[in-house]
Amino acid sequence: MLQAIGVSSLQEIFDRQIPEGVRLRRDLALAPGRGEQDVYEHLSQLASRNVSCEQEISFLGAGMYDHYVPAVIDMLTERSEFLTPYTPYQPEISQGGLQVMFEYQTAISELTALPVSNASTYEGPSAVAAAGYLAKLHNQRARFVVSAGLHPHSIQTLRTYAHGYGMEVVEVGLTDGLTDPDAWAAAIDEHTSAAIFAQPNFYGAVEDAAALSAAAKMSPGGEGAQPPVVICQVDPIALGVLAPPGDCGVDVAVGEGQPLGNRLDFGGPSFGMFAAREEFLRRMPGRIAGQTVDADGRRGFVLTLQTREQHIRREKATSNICTAQALNALAGVVYLSWLGRRGLVEMGELLLARTHYARERLAGIDGVAKLHEQPVVREFAVRIDADVAAVRARCLEQGVNPGVDLQAITGRPEDRGGLLVALTERRSRADIDRLAELISAAVAAERPAAVPA
């Protein structure tokens, strides 16, 4: 090979190209390479030092949920033909992946009742920020109004991005667990680029999405004024039973796709949903697959509307996203097919019933109260009259992870004592009863000196 190249050594190739001053003159200080079995052993040992949902009864949620991932998803996502290609730049040999994107877009469009979906973005919170950028491009206004019920990671991510593109983020507080309707309406004016809320909200409560959208659209500038873009972060599983954003006046629906057939993976990779009304199609971020025909008239699929994208439009692109989450979106559409039309509804009804049961069980414990009375689908918050960390520790010792310490994640003083409890179809009534027993015992033990009789 060297002879063909016309050099006397491999070194010569580098000597002729890399300037002397920037060559690394030593070996990388990394451990020597190891055989496959040794590496497996090492990674397996690291895995064994984590407590996964396999090893405890977990009520952790707050954005990612321990749903069962059907075996058929593992089988399909491990297939070389889906696992190892690059982005489908050559459509003639990428029809499988492109059709998956087309099907995925159809499924997300159906789920959200919005006509257009892209082929995925990274994940939930950055999808919220990407939706914010879409709004900025759409109306060039200065401010985002966000509900405090939006996931804290979404608010933080939006703030990071918004600082970049020069916008302000204003937070509207909650009343009785819901976005305060008066404060919401008052905060939205003719400078509001987008009004953003979550459904269900971070505290588990089901918002009146239609009312929030209507208020946002009524609010600014009076008759004839262009309303802000209404953005809603949704939990896709909850959409089996909740009125979909498209039916509630929402313009852009985004969300964390993990609950749809993606494993937890300590936070990623998963995918971000991104669906919108037709008028936003040409401002959407990311890949979009479209239908067309080939030279012989066969139905086929291509990446389309690419004049939105960075590789064509460069600094004028509607987003910088390139690699997204195609394999995770495949898992998403396979999962929705596996659940099916009825299954998604049944799943939602089951979660409604079990979550209601769990909330009543916990709220019945002395020293535990509901954080709000609003309807909940799959997650709810309670306030514990004891140190949450200590209560959690007692439950953990007994093999039950009772949920997320609210204040630890939101940092809000008013969330002190809050516990966010999430359910999936894997948490049975027996698991819920066990949780209630443990919390009851833990609260009794940890309560500040019991009130004297």
Partner: protein, 548 residues
Amino acid sequence: MSAVQDNQVHADPGIDAQRIIPREAGQDPAAAPAGSRPGVPAGGEGPAGQSPLQRQAATTIFQKGAPGRRAFQCPERDVPAVDPEQLLPSHLRRSVPARLPEVSEPEIVRHYVGLSKRNFDLDSGFYPLGSCTMKHNPRLHERAAALPGHARLHPLQDAERCQGALELMWNLQQALAEISGLPHVSLQPSAGSHGELAGVLLSRAYHEDRGQTRRKVLTPDTAHGTNPATVTMAGLEVVKVATGPHGGVDIDDLRAKADEDVACLMLTNPNTLGLFDPSIAQIAEIVHGVGATLYYDGANLNAVMGLSRPGDMGFDIVHFNLHKSFTQPHGGGGPGSGPIAVSERIAPFLPVPVLTRAQDGTFALEEHPDGPGSRSIGRLRGFQGNYGCFVRAYAYICSLGGDGLRDASETAVLNANYLLARLREHPVAEHLPLAYGELCMHEFVLSGGPMKRALGIRTLDLAKRLLDFGFHPPTVYFPLLVDEALMVEPTETETKETLDSFADAVAAVLAEAAEDPAIAIGAPYSTPVRRLDEVAAAKNPVIRESLH
């Protein structure tokens, strides 16, 4: 450098792609009987010798199944019944179910396995897609990432109950710091362009912290499209820097544009022409001289691992593409992962949470850290990044070690130069000359300009005809400053035999075109579908199945 001309490429490659061939041309491309040419299928009884895959009409999962069919069995409702109105008032309820498919598990399996067969993939053949580093994906990584201790670990698990995961992240951070020569790492960004956004925001924060508002970011005209798109998203302004006659940054142009309003220069090195910039030290001096930072787009890191480090070249911020250099499988368009490494002066602004290690060796994720991240730009996404990708990249680094990583880069460069040498033989060289330079790093860019003029076929036609030979074509029409560009990156995991067979295929396509250019212009013939009408797709977008 006659091959290099001003960019004459259409704004949308889709426009190149849509030279729709008359029906007849799509049939047997030459007088030779079908099957006697590589890639042209032997005819069945169908029209024009269609292959079984071509006969199969594309049918979506939404067009399959029947009412009532299903795969999922819902667990029984084991809690007391409650009035539905009490659970969820009807005005908040969905009135019509989402029209999802109604299919059984066997139908799902057959449908998606069928679709998989309509994909070309890295495990099936050579994939020399420039700037994408399509190296082999070891299956150990999939097995390790699927261990429940990794795969079913909740991202909000208490720190003391996920020490294994945090240690893995720590070790990966340390390794990336060593490879890049920059001490502080954040694994959080989700992909390369997300890492770029982090980088530009970091650069901005650094200047703001010093009381400066700098508005401009310099990017070479050879830069990946993500660079300028990122700059705009970060609220800054792109200023293009020209490429000099040798393919590196035009130093005079850089000097003219580098001023006190420049926040940052974004550079890929080796650049997208596959050339290591010989003036890198001077570039760093000029950029740092005006107080700006230097950002390294790590898409081409596979050329220099263990050989040269961005930190030693003077870069302040680097992003890595774990889905390129570190073998995270690309998944047909993701997932990826785009960690960043930064110098001391940038560290205070790193995204949160920051991974820390206490005196006693325990790890934690800090939202409000001291030291790195203490004046953070904030969060870029939920949780702590694409951990599943970290497991795979870390497994790769453990398998190769320092020497192995250097071997990988050396072999990648050797393979690229060998393939380049094979393509510089007669008769390919006359038609597809190397755009710049003599040698290359891990990839190289040819110009199809002479081929177009002499043979009447374009780079796109060559690419489409290569599909019939069983190869994924190189990247086409990028970088933009090369006429009819063809960007080839073979990677280190390909054998000499594969490189030879690819070079032979390119020569065969050119020889065939010399006889009859219509063959390439009508290609491909053997793929599940033939050339697709991209303009029609964009003009009248149909982006979902219509359901009735």
